[in-house]
């Protein structure tokens, strides 16, 4: 069974928010839209986004890490948001594991957002329905789009290509390999939600120098040793001693 997911590489994510607005741009005018904005040009503007980047610091100066952490619906394999929905609006697709909301059935009761331990669901305060990441389900199967574009908007936009997309149940997929080989991890596994989206951790590259590497036979300084030949007429032993 297929489980589509995003694998987000925190080692290269620079927190640029390209995924945030490209998602908004695609989805506000797509089948999941609109993504309303409140006070768009006024005080405390706030609107619906499917995807946000949170930035936080870890550690104490000077050993500080600044972490950019993009977060959207994790499309859990055991999504706690689905069973709590009183109307059946929240559902998980059998064919690809994407968790979706049927707006017509949604009554905006927010049970699902309370049940979600990740805070990934946001109520559209204008339309009063729950909205969330769809993995661009209206893109990825759209045969009118060229194949390259049949991927979520955030994945296409990401300048650091920090967002991988694919089937985590297929062990040969790019995403499965990345999880396996690069220490991919789940968010809060203790909740038993089995989030489909994974994150790849920061990895550090260090250079280890041996002191021998600083001393070399071909050191160019040797070429600068200036040893001028004395003038032919300068005194020598020949001037004083016949032996």
């Amino acid at each position: 069974m297929t489980q589509l997911a995003l694998v987000i590489d925190l080692n290269v994510c620079v927190g640029c928010h390209a995924c945030v607005t490209s998602c908004k741009e695609w989805n506000t005018s797509g089948l999941s839209g609109p993504l309303s904005d409140f006070n768009a040009y006024g005080k405390d503007p706030t609107g619906t986004f499917f995807n946000r980047v949170q930035t936080f610091e870890v550690g104490v100066y000077p050993n500080t890490e600044t972490v950019h952490f993009p977060k959207s619906c994790l499309h859990c394999e055991e999504p706690p948001c689905v069973p709590v929905c009183p109307t059946g609006a929240s559902y998980k697709r059998a064919e690809d594991g994407i968790v979706l909301v049927d707006y017509d059935k949604c009554i905006g009761c927010k049970y699902c957002s309370w049940a979600c331990p990740y805070g990934a669901r946001e109520l559209d305060e204008n339309q009063k329905v729950m909205k969330k990441c769809t993995l661009c389900v209206d893109r990825i199967y759209d045969m009118n789009l060229p194949e390259r574009e049949r991927r979520p908007a955030c994945v296409l936009s990401c300048p650091a290509s920090a967002r991988l997309f694919g089937d985590i149940h297929d062990p040969e997929s790019e995403v499965s390999r990345a999880i396996r080989e690069q220490g991919g991890f789940e968010l809060m596994p203790e909740w038993g939600t089995k989030p489909a989206n994974h994150y790849l951790p920061r990895r550090k590259m260090r250079l280890h120098l041996h002191e021998d590497e600083l001393v070399r036979a071909d050191n160019p300084l040797k070429k600068e040793e200036y040893m001028p030949k004395p003038d032919i007429n300068e005194p020598t032993l020949d001037d004083v001693m016949p032996w």
């Binding site: 590489d9 080692n11 290269v12 620079v14 927190g15 928010h17 390209a18 945030v20 607005t21 490209s22 741009e25 506000t28 005018s29 089948l31 999941s32 839209g33 609109p34 993504l35 309303s36 904005d37 409140f38 006070n39 768009a40 040009y41 006024g42 005080k43 503007p45 610091e57 550690g59 104490v60 100066y61 000077p62 500080t64 890490e65 600044t66 049927d102 707006y103 204008n126 339309q127 389900v137 209206d138 759209d142 574009e149 936009s157 300048p159 290509s161 550090k204 590259m205 260090r206 250079l207 120098l209 590497e213 600083l214 050191n219 160019p220 040797k222 600068e224 200036y226 001028p228 030949k229």
Partner: protein
């Protein structure tokens, strides 16, 4: 209500009838990525990165993907505006007028100025990327008073590098991360440029490269660095000099590279009595050196132990030592002088200045030197050097660097950047695989050939300026000064105060015009620069100057014209407002004559083509310039008989040639009648179509053997000469030692053969025109009571706002609606300040009230904030109570455009680098303290809310929901909150 997804039904397909995809070029920032705009029924549905574009390869950033909200922004100006009769400047009271009336006003006013004293007209532009046209207009008009924003952005980077290696970062070169093994980024540099850097950096990390970030703040790309090295602002030069010290001491430099490709081995005259002291010894003095380094210098032959002509066949010269010529003249190789210079710049010395531990400085030097030497790349590319030697491989030392404003925006930035360029040079990384690589039209000769006039006689009524509006002085005789050595330009660029101000000093133009020093002007035209806000230092006073009147009640700057697409703070100070279009509504070129988008492998230029019609009465600024140029009969824009030459801007781009029949125009691709020529060829009437059909760009890929070592690559130099990129095909030796700087110093010492600086500036020129880099504390710190103002205050830009002007953008402002001052908790707690507290930040110039945010990612002696998030109330058509004005703030209020007067002489000078005139934004010293509990929780200073001029639409009420591609906004979703 939109369609929905149902558990028991297939996913519906979006209706794609009426869709069209058009390629153009982004302008949400200065990057210029290729974009693909999908229109539905003539409205923008979405904008994505163009996968076939060499710059961004399909990706797009947060700004680019929000372009749709710029297009439909309520801050847009849509009508030409004239200040209402009786209204006071700054009040923002306007009446809408027609373009014909607008042009008549301009034609009459500018015509009079041009016929009497052309320098009374000043044109200053922001980050417009159309300097080829704006500069041409200024030159044709005949005014010397023109500059773009480079002087307050990164001219130190341009000048420091171009005067050293013949190229510089960003448009003209950058780190080759594809092959680098070690990458060092110093200071804030992320927005130059952003998407290509993100693409390359992530690939570099995935390929196992090591990334070190040196920055007072860990944000931006530094966040993903393998190592963060915090440094005190303005001390980078000390670090580089110590790194050079260590590399030289251990012999970790690339000797072969230094000998062949730099002036390191050339002998410098050390006879202090000679008028040639500190200059290279020449075998003969040529009649005219032209704009290149003739190969007439000397080396000291190691084997024969005697002086020989440099680059003599089979000779290996000394890099170190001291020698005497036959006539007794003492000489030293330039490299020896560098060695002597850095002798005292030990890692221990630098540790005390930079705050970086001495062992870290040593290790950085070792890592750079060892990686450069031991991970050397040999690409199987045969090439021939400028001296005719054939090489079977292309060598690379894979250590690369990147830096920009973090280094540049200090008053010691020029020498800091010279030091960085020399560090890159001693590692042997210039235009080599894995190091720094040039982008066409660079490298240029050092210095490049264009020159401004050198006398006020070049400014004549009804006559184009006799020389370039901006240029690259090679010695004091190239300065643009009068017989007394005083400036000809309003901003005093190319004067003895800022001799190498190659991008001008826009940040002083208003102050100088207001004060009438060096003279008063009549009309100031500002394009796309927010001089009444974030583009000015000392913002409060600059606003007052723009509205200030003399004793007769006349404005001190008589007429201000503002061209912009949006209702910026500066618009309120205009007498005449010219509404510009957005980038989706116009033609544009990113020209090789300006700042193209070239790749390492060859020249690339590009265009914008309109995907939407102009909104309201908006007119592209290019069209405005061509219209005025034609009405004023500026020679480039009219036939000999005075008839208008160009129908419009697209027609101008096709048919304009730098001189009749030159075959050189704004675009390099598809020249010749049928588009068969490259770089040079007759005008092609179908050139726009050909660009449009090729993803809006033209990419000329050089043969592989021409892609590296271009300063000294015979094939490349000949190619560049044949295609008229350069006049000379001479090798461009790296100026490790700068004779250009020494020639100014000699003049200041009264020794040179050129003209001399005014007495009051001699000491200054002598001090700062040092042929080798040196470290000095930033000038403002030297004149500040640092016990009272102990902290450095700097800014960075958040990625969603890099290089952009998008505070009006509904989506981007949800990411950053206001800014905090970031403070290390250790510092804050000592001052009794808590996270989230309202605090005052105070410099010797002023104070700002803002909110404090704790951060462990900042060096404790530094505080910082995001730049240009704070706005004046009501500006950009944000509501007067918007976060930008109530919680957001601008650090500019704390920064002066001028330094405290000289203690002894009392003379004023710009708060700028004394070599280049680069605005020293990051030199300011501050203190912070808690605001009183009784004070309002609002940033200070506040300004009277800006009023909305005619033609600017109303802000939507509360809810807004965009349905791109249908109507602009689905009004059924726009209404009061229930």
């Amino acid at each position: 209500m939109a369609p929905t997804y149902r558990a028991d039904e297939p996913i519906p397909s979006e209706d794609r009838t009426g869709e069209r995809k058009l390629d153009t070029t982004c302008y949400m920032c200065a990057c210029r990525c290729g974009i693909r705009v999908t229109l539905k029924d003539g409205k923008v549905r979405y904008i994505e990165g163009n996968p076939d574009h060499p710059l961004n390869k399909g990706v797009i950033c947060a700004k680019g993907a929000s372009g749709i909200m710029k297009q439909y922004s309520p801050a847009r100006l849509t009508k030409p505006l004239k200040r209402k009769a009786g209204a006071v400047r700054g009040e923002g009271k306007f009446e809408a007028i027609s373009w014909e009336e607008t042009f008549q006003i301009l034609e009459e006013r500018l015509g009079n100025i041009r016929a009497t004293d052309p320098k009374q007209f000043a044109l200053y532009t922001g980050r417009d990327q159309m300097q080829a046209l704006t500069g041409l207009f200024a030159k044709q008009f005949g005014t010397p008073n023109y500059a773009a924003h480079g002087g307050f952005c990164s001219v130190n980077m341009a000048a420091g590098m171009v005067y050293t290696i013949g190229g510089s970062f960003w448009e003209f070169g950058g780190p080759d991360l594809d092959r680098a093994k070690l990458f060092v980024m110093i200071g804030t540099a992320e927005d130059h440029h952003s998407n290509p850097m993100k693409i390359a950096l992530s690939q570099f990390k995935r390929n196992g490269g090591r990334f070190i970030a040196i920055n007072p703040v860990r944000t931006g790309y530094a966040a993903i660095a393998d190592e963060w090295v915090p440094i005190k602002p303005g001390t980078d030069g000390a670090l580089f000099l110590a790194l050079i010290h260590e590399i030289l001491a251990l012999g970790l430099y690339d000797r072969d590279f230094l000998v062949k490709y730099t002036n390191s081995a050339e002998l410098v005259n050390m006879d202090e009595k000679s008028s040639e002291y500190g200059m290279f010894v020449r075998t003969e003095v040529p009649v005219e050196e032209g704009c290149f380094d003739p190969q007439n210098k000397l080396w000291w032959d190691r084997e024969a132990d005697r002086p020989v002509l440099s680059h003599a066949e089979g000779v290996d010269p000394f890099l170190m030592g001291e020698f005497a010529l036959k006539d007794g003249t003492p000489v030293k190789p330039a490299f020896q002088l560098l060695k002597e210079r850095v002798a005292e710049y030990t890692p221990e010395w630098a540790a005390g200045i930079t705050g970086i531990p001495v062992e870290t400085i040593r290790r950085l030097a070792h890592e750079m030197g060892v990686v450069a030497r031991d991970q050397r790349i040999e690409l199987p590319i045969a090439w021939t050097d400028a001296w005719g030697h054939e090489h079977q491989t292309m060598t690379g030392n894979p250590v690369s660097f990147h830096a920009m404003r973090g280094l540049a925006a200090h008053s010691n930035g020029f020498h800091t950047i010279r030091a960085l360029s020399i560090l890159m040079t001693v590692l042997g990384t210039i235009d080599r695989p894995g190091g720094f690589r040039h982008k066409a039209p660079f490298p240029r000769p050092i210095p490049p050939c264009p020159k401004t006039p050198s006398t006020p006689l070049a400014v004549k009524p009804n006559t184009p300026l006799d020389g370039m509006v901006l240029g690259w002085p090679a010695d004091p005789d190239d300065l643009f000064v009068d017989d007394d050595g005083e400036p000809v330009r309003l901003d005093k660029a190319f004067s003895w105060e800022y001799p190498l101000a190659v991008h001008g000093l826009m940040h002083n133009a208003i102050t100088n015009a207001w004060r009438g020093d060096p003279y008063k002007i009549d009309t100031l035209l500002i394009f796309m620069a927010n001089m009444a806000w974030n583009s000015s230092m000392n913002t409060v006073n600059v606003r007052d100057m723009m509205a200030d009147r003399d004793e007769n009640g006349d404005y001190k700057i008589p007429f201000i014209v503002v061209a912009d697409a949006f209702m910026s703070e500066t618009v309120a100070f205009a007498d005449l407002v010219l509404p510009d279009t957005t980038y989706l509504e116009r033609h544009d070129v990113m020209s090789l004559l300006d700042r193209p988008i070239s790749e390492f492998d060859g020249p690339v230029d590009s265009v914008r083509v309109p995907v939407l019609p102009p909104t309201g009465d908006c007119k592209p600024f290019q069209e405005v310039l061509i219209e005025i140029g034609s009405r004023l009969k500026l020679p480039a824009f009219v036939h000999a008989d005075g008839r208008r030459k160009f129908r419009d801007y697209p027609d101008f781009i096709i048919n304009y040639e730098t001189e009749p029949g030159s075959g050189i125009g704004f675009l390099s691709g598809w020249r010749g009648n049928g588009g068969e020529k490259t770089l040079r060829g007759a005008p092609n009437p179908r050139q726009w179509e050909m660009y449009a059909a090729n993803d809006c760009h033209y990419h000329y890929e050089l043969p592989r053997s021409y892609q590296y070592m271009r300063n000294w690559n015979r094939g490349y130099l000949d190619w560049a000469q044949r295609h008229r990129l350069t006049r000379y095909a001479e090798p461009i030796l790296i100026h490790l030692y700068s004779e250009v700087l020494q020639s100014f110093r000699l003049a200041a010492q009264g020794k040179g053969i050129s003209r001399l600086p005014p007495q009051r500036l001699r000491k200054r020129v002598e001090t700062f025109f040092d042929p080798l880099p040196f470290y000095y504390e930033p000038l403002e710190s030297q004149r500040t009571d640092t016990a009272k103002y102990p902290l450095n205050a700097i800014t960075q830009r958040p990625m969603a706002m890099y290089h952009s002007w998008d505070s009006q953008n509904a989506w981007l402002r949800q990411i950053h609606a206001h800014n905090y001052l970031y403070v290390n908790p250790k510092l804050a707690k000592g001052l009794g300040i808590d996270d989230g507290d309202w605090i005052w930040v105070e410099s010797q110039w002023g104070k700002v009230r803002c909110m404090c945010r704790f951060s462990e990612a900042v060096e404790p002696g530094t505080v910082w904030t995001w730049n240009a998030i704070g706005k004046a109330s009501g500006a950009w058509n944000l509501s007067p109570d918007a976060n930008e004005s109530q919680k957001g703030f601008l650090l500019n209020h704390l920064i002066s455009e001028e330094l405290p007067p000289e203690p002894v002489t009392g003379t004023r000078c710009s708060n700028s680098d004394p070599v280049t005139g680069q605005a020293a934004w990051f030199d300011v010293r501050v203190r912070i303290y808690k605001a009183d509990a009784a004070e309002p929780e609002q940033t200070s200073p506040q300004f009277k809310p800006m009023t909305t001029p005619p033609g600017v639409r109303k802000r939507p009420k509360l809810w807004q929901a965009l349905f791109g591609g249908s109507s602009e906004f689905d009004m059924s979703h726009t209404g009061e909150r229930s």
